[in-house]
Symmetry: C2
């Protein structure tokens, strides 16, 4: 029904603008033009320069014919070019497809064909795999080399170098925001442990909102000094290219996660904030004492990407880091759930405090709903800390869908919720805790076993550096837990039957018997570039065990 408020009160150019995180760069360049924006080795430049370079990139792409809805792909480390692509590419109306640098040529070829990239920017370090991918792909994008001075290996394989390409663009290019805030801003392929990866499409509206959501949730100050430990190709760096720019902070680039470089950055660059997967935190915890001595207390760290064991969170806390635990997926722009801390939890005994922090928590302010539902009935599970259901999201920080895959999109959004595939419980008070990925859960003698719960116990063992638990097929039980374990240097345990027995005994003291590993395998644990343990590979290994 039309009311008095529906008449003569329409949208006009004065009072409506599509939301886009691109507008943050213009504001910061106008308000703080001479503040430091980017540090990359010895190279530093300010926001006036960053804005000018992004405008040149947009202009040069537009002059090459890049238009709204075209795809521009990039394979690069966390460099200025990667950061600039997060502004310059969408500023043409095109969609940024930041490709995981650890993928093999076949996977990259699939992505180039499926995403129909018209341009591919290639960091010299990744030229060999990109060249092989281009040879396999049917699609032949225009290739731009990124000849980063910090890289000596790798050939140039493109038509032009990035800095020369920028020179073709107008540094005063008057970019327009998106036609519609629902327009795509980014295309990111899920790691897809089976079959071909799916292309997650996100939009300007969601990127704008989650960029603000990060600032509010993490209570980020003006001018944070942010270290790029998290790959920008991972859910667009969880929207932090836009968040840090909005706050006129410093982007400290980092090509490679290296504990010595990270600790150095706290002292020499005054880094105040960084993000990383639990495996990154584990590297910091296990760094040599002389490296760790360089930490100034109070550095803030946001972690996600895999459920961090409570022991890892407690160790970070002990070192003086201020850790915020978040959770999300590519489909929800990176983090969209936070373990929003209650002051009264500070007074809990350490193990309980760490257990609280290990919970995934509650929705971001900008997400409408995140909860744990029965995947069949879509009814909420009771908040009893025991009943498992699937984590589901609803709101503005959920992807547009999967590119050219309406079936997968419809399945993912069935019943009006985005189905995460993560199994969790709701604790009293409404904080959720992940128990497992749907596909990772072990069913042994009809009982569900959360591999994360078993891993949490393994990480408490003083000799264990890393641990992962998967299902091993078993004639009698159906499946049994199989633990893959990496021991620390100088561990008292031996990597043999005696060590295996000791670990199983350690678990028996802390877990119900049916949850304890029946098998322990020592050795390195395969991980994705973002630090996620590749359980798919481990399951294959467990299946092949004699």
């Amino acid at each position: 029904m039309t009311t008095i408020y529906d008449r003569d009160l329409d949208k006009t150019p004065a009072n409506y603008e599509p939301l886009s995180p691109l507008s943050f760069l213009r504001r910061t360049a106008e308000v703080f033009p001479h503040r430091l924006a980017v540090v990359h080795g010895d190279w530093r430049y300010d926001y006036a320069t960053l804005y000018m370079r992004c405008r040149r990139l947009a202009s040069a792409l537009a002059r090459r014919g890049i238009r709204r809805g075209d795809t521009v792909a990039i394979i690069a480390a966390n460099t200025p070019a990667q950061l600039e692509a997060h502004f310059g590419v969408p500023a043409t109306g095109a969609v940024l497809n930041a490709i995981n640098t650890r993928l093999d040529a076949a996977a990259i070829a699939f992505i180039l064909d499926h995403g129909e990239a018209k341009v591919l920017m290639v960091d010299r370090e990744f030229a060999p795999v990109a060249e092989a991918a281009l040879a396999q792909a049917k699609n032949k994008p225009y290739v731009i080399d990124i000849d980063d001075a910090a890289v000596t290996a790798g050939e140039r394989i493109g038509a032009i170098e990035y800095e020369d390409f920028l020179k073709l663009g107008d540094f005063e290019y008057p970019w327009q925001g998106p036609l519609d805030e629902w327009d795509a801003i980014s295309l990111g392929y899920t790691s897809g442990t089976t079959g071909n990866p799916k292309g997650v499409v996100t939009h300007h509206r969601g990127a704008y909102l989650n960029a603000m959501g990060n600032a509010v949730t993490w209570n980020l100050p003006k001018h944070p000094v942010y270290l790029w430990t998290l790959p920008m190709f991972h859910c667009d760096g969880w929207c932090f290219p836009w968040t840090i720019t909005m706050l006129a902070g410093v982007h400290v680039c980092l090509r490679r996660v290296d504990p010595a470089a990270i600790f150095d950055s706290f002292v020499h660059l005054g880094v105040t904030h960084f993000c990383g997967a639990p495996t990154v935190l584990n590297m910091l915890i296990n760094a040599p004492a002389e490296v760790k001595a360089r930490l100034k207390p109070g550095v803030k760290c946001m972690t996600a990407g895999a459920a961090p064991p409570a022991a890892v969170l407690a160790a970070m806390d002990d070192m003086g880091f201020d850790v915020t635990h978040v959770y999300g997926l590519t489909e929800v722009y990176g983090p969209a759930v936070v373990c929003d801390w209650h002051d009264e939890w500070d007074a809990l005994p350490l193990p309980e405090k760490a257990a609280m922090k290990a919970r995934q928590g509650v929705r971001y302010h900008v997400e409408e709903d995140v909860t744990v539902l029965d995947p069949q009935t879509l009814q909420p599970v009771p908040a009893d800390g025991e009943t498992m259901g699937e984590i589901m999201f609803r709101g503005n920080v959920v992807m547009k869908g999967y590119l050219k895959n309406p079936k997968a999109t419809q399945e993912a959004f069935a019943g009006g919720w985005f189905h995460s595939g993560d199994l969790a419980v709701l604790h009293p008070g409404g904080y959720m805790q992940i128990k497992d990925r749907s596909k990772d859960i072990i069913i042994s003698g009809g009982e569900n076993i959360s591999t994360l719960e078993v891993e949490g116990v393994l990480y408490m063992h003083p000799d264990i550096l890393e641990a992962a638990v998967v299902a091993r097929p078993d004639a009698h039980w159906g499946e049994t837990p199989c633990a893959f374990v990496t021991l620390k240097n100088g561990a008292a345990l031996a990597a043999d039957q005696s060590g295996s027995d000791a670990i199983i005994a350690f678990c028996r003291e802390r877990l119900a018997k049916f949850k304890c590993p029946k098998t322990v395998v020592f050795g390195d644990i395969p991980k994705t570039s973002t630090g996620k343990i590749q359980k798919f590979e481990l399951r294959e290994k467990a299946k092949a065990l004699p």
Copy 2:
């Protein structure tokens, strides 16, 4: 042109929700149900209770037939009912019309008729004026009394008392967000110094964005303790009912601006943040020393509503307040411009520092553009600190328009910009500074005189408590500056010709001769309820001077 990103990637209930600040209350009530939400005298309650009470209000209104696009008006001080109305009313789809409590009966009657209020909530203190207004108005809304225990005067004039009305509602009422984020959330009448006031209509999208904008711009922490010095009927309390709720902070209600109560709240309630017009700051600066002794340094204050003289900002700074200067209008949801501080300004000598802080500044992160344009050509004025133009806004934090007034709306939005009516210069670096309201500027012998500039000098005089300058008609010059001045208690100056001469001499030392007042009038200065000086009245007085 349709691209691959426009196919099979539509909005669904899983990935699209109209933006609304109502969602912040639900989140906070779910995540921090037992945190203190509201303090009103001895009465305190938590977020679970606030949410329940707002749901009851929404439910009771809906049961009385209130629907989308209906108007619900309120005349109240900063009480729990006023805060709850900011959630409970829009939760029914209705539009909240918070009426300025200082208006006379005729103005309120006009508003009730023009806004077509179906319900009117009346705080007992304002029952007499409300009763007179209802007698004059053609519209006869359903009247609810708010019988605040803190008020003893005033009769009940309504059909039911607020607390009884709440009991008619369901505390589990499953409210829905708006159908569309462009739906109206609030109707606020401008003070309109001439003719009838205009009804500014704002929407859920803008209220959501500016609620977040306040948090990012002011870098608000989690759980701020916020004192309600600013009337909530003034641009919906600059969106702070929603901002403070989003951050799970404490709303400390305050019926009346009283320096002793304000300083007490710092000590006894741990107030960390408050907002107020420059006249409120002036009251704090001029409070007795024993009252001021109760200040703890570091309390954060946001000021706007009239351009604060540099001397007032400097005095607040001296007392240990941390002042953020913002600027806005009802049409832009309250503040939408901030004097975004540069660290290097800390090192400036005090007078220059105060002059920097007196600048209005730059746009909020959530506003698309705010700048100073030539009102004829809509071209930007040069950033020379001298050329005057009109401040204009563009973006998502601009009203829908004026209710039932398409002509005024079109004029306000002419050329794709909202015309503020405030005259300003752009300084090098892009920070704007208001010189005057278009209607306040004095034109003397063909020269423009900024009344704010003259007032800034008057406020430097140690004997002057308040000052306002307006045009006085003059046969020779056209207009000349006429100063209205209130002296401090115990001032050395006398309120006679000798005082007048001394003040003019003081100005001559600091201003070009043509800018100095020709006339000085001693006495009280009339102000609106929000602390804005009523220059219209002063102009009438100046005109009538013998």
